[in-house]
């Protein structure tokens, strides 16, 4: 428990900053909707977007979402929210494991009467709490920000659905980060590598959107697992991708524990 609380304390400041950033993104993002949702204007926006080249649409994450509805607009914003939350989760997962070696405190911590697995469990638990808090703040922030523009449109359920998908993505990247930190003996580069991996999958998802005929590759990028457009249309998260996410998480978790227990620590 002492390691858990130490990690909670260590991440407190940065978590607050991430939360503030997220709230800012929500407020700034949704306030744009206010100017766009003036009657008459919103249709023009849809037309404007439709006139844009497909690649540009893909980068903006617009696709075929209806920007004139608040849930459609939020769906576009969701891409950026997911990006931010997963970067937080990935870096947190990687750093929380790697920092003991990076800061050379492993020689302090791991000569205490604990096993390496005990350390991992405490740290992952602390990271999980961080991820849950950011997800909670994002959920509440989204509900409040969207509500004020909803004009009676019932969006709460859509938002909670997307937040569920977001949580799975966060967990996935958190564990991916911890696996990178545990499997590789590169404590200084673990967070960087995880972010790189994240950007790569993000890039793949953009490429899939641009090309329009690479749907078969969707399994390669978690950003496509719970795509706002598909989720909002279906009204549920895809069971297949949930199972795939779960399998990847289990894999990353096993990689984290086995990798960290087997290798020499960098001291």
């Amino acid at each position: 428990m002492n390691i858990f609380w130490r990690e909670m304390k260590a991440q407190r400041k940065s978590l607050i900053i991430w939360c503030v950033g997220m709230v800012f993104l929500l407020i700034a993002g949704m306030s744009k909707y206010a100017t766009l949702s003036v009657p008459g204007e919103s249709q023009t926006l849809n037309e404007l977007m439709a006139d844009m080249p497909k690649s540009l649409q893909a980068i903006f994450g617009v696709g075929s979402l209806d920007l004139s509805t608040v849930s459609g607009y939020y769906g576009v914003l969701f891409l950026y929210i997911a990006m931010m939350a997963t970067i937080h989760a990935g870096m947190l997962g990687a750093t929380i494991i790697a920092k003991e070696e990076r800061d050379k405190t492993a020689e302090f911590l791991l000569v205490k009467p604990i096993t390496r697995s005990m350390m991992l469990t405490s740290k992952l638990a602390a990271a999980l709490v961080g991820v849950v808090i950011l997800n909670g703040v994002t959920s509440i922030g989204s509900l409040m920000a969207v509500q004020s523009y909803s004009n009676g449109e019932n969006v709460n359920q859509d938002i909670m659905l997307l937040m569920g998908g977001l949580f799975i993505l966060q967990l996935l990247f958190m564990l991916l980060g911890s696996a990178v930190a545990s499997l590789l003996k590169l404590p200084k580069r673990a967070a960087g590598l995880t972010s790189g991996l994240l950007l790569l999958t993000f890039f793949i998802s953009v490429v899939i959107d641009i090309s329009g005929n690479l749907d078969a590759l969707k399994f390669l990028t978690p950003f496509k697992y719970f795509d706002a457009k598909t989720v909002l249309e279906a009204g549920s998260l895809s069971m297949g991708y949930m199972l795939l996410s779960l399998a990847l998480m289990v894999l990353a978790l096993v990689g984290t524990y086995v990798g960290y227990n087997k290798r020499d620590l960098k001291v």
């Binding site: 130490r6 800061d103 020689e107 302090f108 791991l110 009467p113 096993t115 020499d264």
Partner: protein, 294 residues
């Protein structure tokens, strides 16, 4: 009972660094010196014993328990001071000490305060703001606060001023008197000489020698220096046991190991003006081990 027992312990890295077939025992109640130059494998050995890195082959036991199978249990009674002290930034000294103490299932507050007072360590400062010597003190206190049965020290005195070094050595002797076994790794021989009962000399990952401090110091080597009245023939000193013979004009110096009567007979046959017979310090003995091999 042996507190530490190494059996053919080997750790190889990709490069040449590492240790090869290291075997020795540290007995209960001993202060055991572990000496060798930088890069000889001292830290590698210690880190393997502590389970930070894993042996390539061979095994080791601490308190009679295998280090790989019972690491967690063993570490309850080990206090370790690493050679370089890095601690969490932004933490006050007392926060770190309490964090360290929280891993042991006993109340360490009293001992912690005693140690901090003894070493004149200000526990309200941030670790970041401390000098190297003061950081070292934090390391000492966190290593000793749970009154461990085995204390492992890796180059513990760097950064400490002579007064603190003295106090630290007294502290170690006191802990030893209370029953703690100490493994003391160092490349500074005089400190090993002052404290240790036995020493293992390690070179390029291999054990060169393992001797009682008393044997190492008293029985083996003497340094001879003499001034003759007339020129000296080098051949006069061509007897067994003479090494490092240097003859400069009428001045002769050498190391000698063996029957003292034999060498005194040689000296008696020369007309001498002055004679010094000195106890070599460990440094000289140590250098001797290294030069012999080179």
């Amino acid at each position: 009972m042996s507190i530490i027992e190494l059996q053919q312990l080997t750790k190889t890295y990709g490069s040449a660094r590492g240790i090869k077939n290291l075997s020795f025992r540290v007995e209960e109640g001993e202060i055991f010196g572990f000496i060798g130059p930088n890069g000889a494998g001292k830290s590698t050995t210690i880190r393997t014993l502590l389970g930070l890195i894993y042996p390539t082959s061979g095994s080791a036991k601490i308190f009679g328990k295998d280090i790989l199978l019972h690491g967690q249990e063993i570490k309850k009674e080990i206090g370790y001071l690493p050679s370089e002290v890095f601690y969490y930034d932004n933490m006050k000294v007392k926060d770190l000490l309490h964090y360290s103490a929280s891993f042991y299932k006993k109340d360490c507050t009293k001992r912690m305060n005693e140690l901090a007072a003894l070493l004149e360590l200000d526990v309200n400062k941030k670790i970041d703001d401390l000098s190297l010597g003061n950081k070292k003190k934090v390391g000492i206190v966190q290593g000793l606060l749970h009154e461990p049965r085995l204390i492992i020290l890796d180059e513990p005195t760097s950064g400490l001023d002579p007064l603190m070094q003295q106090r630290f050595f007294e502290l170690l002797l006191e802990e030893n008197k209370k029953g703690s076994t100490i493994l003391f790794s160092s490349h500074i021989l005089s400190e090993v000489q002052r404290l240790c009962h036995r020493v293992a000399i390690i070179k390029e990952g291999e054990l060169v020698s393992l001797e009682k401090m008393s044997t190492l110091k008293a029985n083996n080597y003497k340094r001879f220096k003499l001034e003759a009245s007339t020129a000296v023939e080098e051949s006069s000193f061509a007897i067994e046991g003479v090494t490092e013979l240097v003859i400069r004009d009428k001045e002769v110096s050498f190391m000698y190991k063996g029957n003292l009567n034999a060498i005194l007979r040689v000296i008696a046959s020369i007309e001498i003006a002055n004679l010094w017979i000195e106890e070599p310090d460990l440094e000289e003995i140590f250098m001797h081990y290294y030069e012999k091999e080179a």
